[in-house]
């Protein structure tokens, strides 16, 4: 066994020197499973950043970054871990963009990333539990923790004077974390939760859950799920039975298809979604349109930023290695330094090469706090005339 390990290490080293110019970045996302309709755009955005790095001509001497995709399945930790293991041992990736859903992200982090010292930047894992996970400084995320979202949602209800709600969440790390955070904030501010019922994604039927929630009552139904999955099913069932008319939605529920499919039933419903506006978002829109990628889809901005941060950290460290990413990522993400928007990575590399400093703003106004996670600004929206109308940012 020892010999075999040695042999494989030797081969890896030889292979490493032979292809020193080609450095692999893992892209772990749920290409199959509950969010399979979001991940193609997320991965495309991350890969857009990598190809921008390669085309810039100012990245590390002769180094190109190439993405290697693997399927996280979003729900199956064993499959995600096996996929990540393959990326690290067979493909030899030095950093990972991903994973996507909170549960599999935690599994990949503790089973693969930490033992192998591979840094991970997740664009979409938002479970509060990941803030305190044992990560040896290897875990970053460009999405804010749901602890913050819980506060935002609770504050929106307070503004509207709603004091009694029923809650349903998607039964996984993300949904549970968000509902816990929301409920503790809401109850602390004097609200009552009549029933907190989980739902499973992609199930055949949601009548049972809606029946129980309708019995429990409440002014509105708070839906903390996924827009193309169980969350939509719950809203559909609630509308059909007349159980609830108004819904407050968490970030996973934001999607154009939801309003298009449910139509007038969604009028007056509201929610919050991590959002960014300003120059960074505009610049991102321009480059995604040029590359023919749907950049308006959920978490595409965060995915681009995750990949861009990895490249910038490598440049700042002067080498395309895991250590360089781990040590420099916080520095390039936050000030001081020249502000960098999407599409300006080439300029950033030049500044870093000349010994300057950069503050990556990116598509989402990246500002990493605490254990390396986005501070996050949220857009509070209301659905009027079948479009998402911004109420304010908070």
């Amino acid at each position: 066994m020892k010999k075999m390990l040695l042999a494989s290490v030797a081969t890896a080293l030889v292979a490493g020197t032979a292809h020193a110019e080609d450095v692999k970045i893992g892209v772990i996302m749920g290409f199959t499973g509950p969010i399979e309709s979001l991940t193609p755009m997320m991965a495309a955005s991350a890969e857009l950043a990598l190809s921008e790095v390669n085309d810039s001509g100012t990245f590390l001497e002769g180094v190109t970054l190439s993405p290697v995709r693997t399927d996280s399945t979003c729900v199956d930790s064993a499959a995600a871990t096996a996929g990540a293991e393959r990326l690290v041992t067979t493909d030899g990736v030095v950093a990972i963009v991903g994973a996507d859903c909170s549960g599999v992200t935690g599994a990949v982090l503790s089973n693969v990333a930490v033992p192998n010292g591979i840094p991970m930047v997740s664009p979409s894992a938002t479970s509060p539990g990941l803030s305190t996970a044992e990560d040896d400084g290897l875990f970053f995320r460009t999405a804010p923790s749901d602890a913050r979202q819980g506060e935002v949602l609770s504050a929106i209800l307070a503004d509207r004077g709603i004091t009694s709600v029923a809650v349903t969440y998607t039964n996984n790390d993300y949904g549970k974390g968000l509902s816990d955070s929301f409920i503790s904030n809401f109850e602390a501010s004097g609200g009552t939760v009549t029933l907190n019922a989980p739902h499973e994604d992609n199930k055949a039927d949601y009548s049972a859950e809606i029946g129980a929630l309708a019995s429990a009552g409440g002014d509105i139904l708070v839906v903390l799920g996924y827009s193309d999955s169980g969350g939509k099913g719950m809203i559909q069932a609630a509308l059909d039975t007349g159980a609830f008319d108004t819904f407050m939605m968490g970030d996973g529920m934001y999607g154009d298809a939801l309003v298009a499919d449910l139509g007038s039933g969604m009028e007056g419903s509201f929610g919050a979604v991590p959002w960014s506006e300003g120059a960074g978002a505009e610049a991102f829109k321009a480059i995604t349109e040029a590359a023919d990628i749907n950049g308006e889809s959920s978490f595409t901005r965060e995915s681009y930023d995750a990949a861009a941060l990895i490249a910038l950290a490598m440049m700042a460290g002067g080498e395309a290695t895991s250590t360089a990413v781990k040590d420099n990522l916080m520095a390039v993400a936050n000030g001081p330094g020249e502000e960098i928007l999407p599409g300006e990575l080439g300029r950033a590399f030049q500044i870093l090469k000349d010994g300057g400093e950069v503050d990556y703003v990116g598509a989402t106004n990246v500002e990493l706090i605490g254990p390396g996670e986005a501070a996050g600004s949220y857009r509070y929206y209301e659905i009027k005339d079948s479009t998402y109308t911004t109420v304010d940012f908070r």
């Binding site: 309709s37 055949a204 309708a214 069932a237």
Partner: protein
């Protein structure tokens, strides 16, 4: 009296109507599974994805019809497209049978090998469907959504509680009745149907009495294609079409078929309703209904919920276990499960 009616309406709206519609959908799916088990003697894991493929064909034709401006008025256009969907699904299934299943049938392999083969087929169908129509949600229902809307019902009757009946729920139940009646007539009254049952009872005797096995197999697959497509389309109209959900439907469908007794068509229908009612009914919170039915002083504060909705899947599997322990052939004496 008004109080009692209010309670009854709430119960119908949240338990009875959804469970009947869901039960019919499961029953149609379970019929397909049970037919394959009874006649071809294996559990077809590809059934959920067969449903998805048939539904996909129907959706594509529906879009074509909608594009041409054809509509059924208050009824969904998809009903017109079902025959085309069935044809597409049948073509795929027969092709699969010729290329894959026939080979294993000739080898006279054990049923368990066929089960594994069907899992392989499942993954291929899975991929084909996603390749053609994509992974996302497709909404193809048109026409009137409700027979009776919740608000209309309230205005009409003056009750506090509303009752909503979707057009698709109505269509589901009616179609299920028609399909089941036609299937029973076919199996019991026609020559082909009888030869299928003979083949199912004893393959060798059926061969000796001159029944052409390949013909029986072909007819079975055709019926399965029709059942799968109809079940899939009805489900898709009622909820929405997403390939992944159809894959997940496999579990309650199998539970229904096994509870009823694999191989017994009557059992498949009963099983579908048992599973649907246990999922929806046993986890219902009775607070609202009891609030209407009991005198004010006795009205409950709590939810009066037997168990949380988290356990609804556990419920159907506990029923499955109990049935298998005490009546291994299922409620309606199918072949041993």
């Amino acid at each position: 009296m008004i109080e009692f009616l209010n309670g009854l309406v709430a119960l119908s709206n949240f338990v009875l109507i959804p469970a009947v519609a869901y039960g019919s959908q499961l029953a149609l799916g379970a019929l397909g599974v049970t037919l394959i088990y009874g006649i071809l003697r294996f559990s077809n894991f590809a059934h959920g994805d067969t449903m998805a493929f048939g539904t996909m064909c129907t959706i594509l034709v529906t879009w074509g019809l909608q594009g041409m401006g054809v509509s059924l008025g208050p009824l969904p256009t998809a009903l017109l497209a079902i025959p085309f969907g069935i044809a597409g699904c049948a073509a795929l299934i027969l092709l699969t049978d010729r290329m894959i299943y026939r080979f294993y049938r000739r080898q006279r392999v054990k049923p368990v090998i066929l089960v594994i083969v069907s899992m392989g087929v499942m993954f291929i169908y899975n991929g084909v469907t996603r390749f053609i129509i994509g992974t996302g949600d497709q909404n193809f229902a048109d026409g009137e959504r409700f027979l009776i809307g919740v608000r209309d019902f309230r205005d009409m009757t003056g009750l506090d509680e509303g009752l909503g009946v979707r057009t698709t729920q109505g269509i589901t139940v009616v179609t299920a009745l028609i399909v089941v009646a036609a299937l029973f007539w076919f199996l019991n009254r026609t020559r082909t149907g009888k030869s299928m049952r003979a083949y199912s009872d004893n393959e060798d005797l059926a061969l000796l009495s001159g029944i052409d096995p390949e013909r029986v197999v072909t007819v079975t697959w055709l019926i399965v294609a029709a059942l799968a497509t109809i079940a899939g389309v009805l489900y898709g109209l009622d909820k929405s079409f997403k390939p992944f959900t159809y894959f997940q439907l496999l579990l309650p469908i199998f539970a229904a078929a096994i509870v009823g007794g694999l191989g017994s068509p009557l059992g498949a229908i009963a099983g579908g309703f048992v599973i649907a009612f246990s999922e929806v009914g046993l986890t219902y919170a009775w607070k609202k209904v009891l609030g209407y039915w009991l005198p004010q002083s006795l009205a409950p504060d709590g939810l009066v919920q037997l168990m949380s909705t988290d356990y609804k899947f556990a419920v159907s599997f506990v029923i499955l276990l109990i049935v298998l322990l005490f009546r291994p052939t299922g409620l309606f004496r199918g072949k041993s499960a």
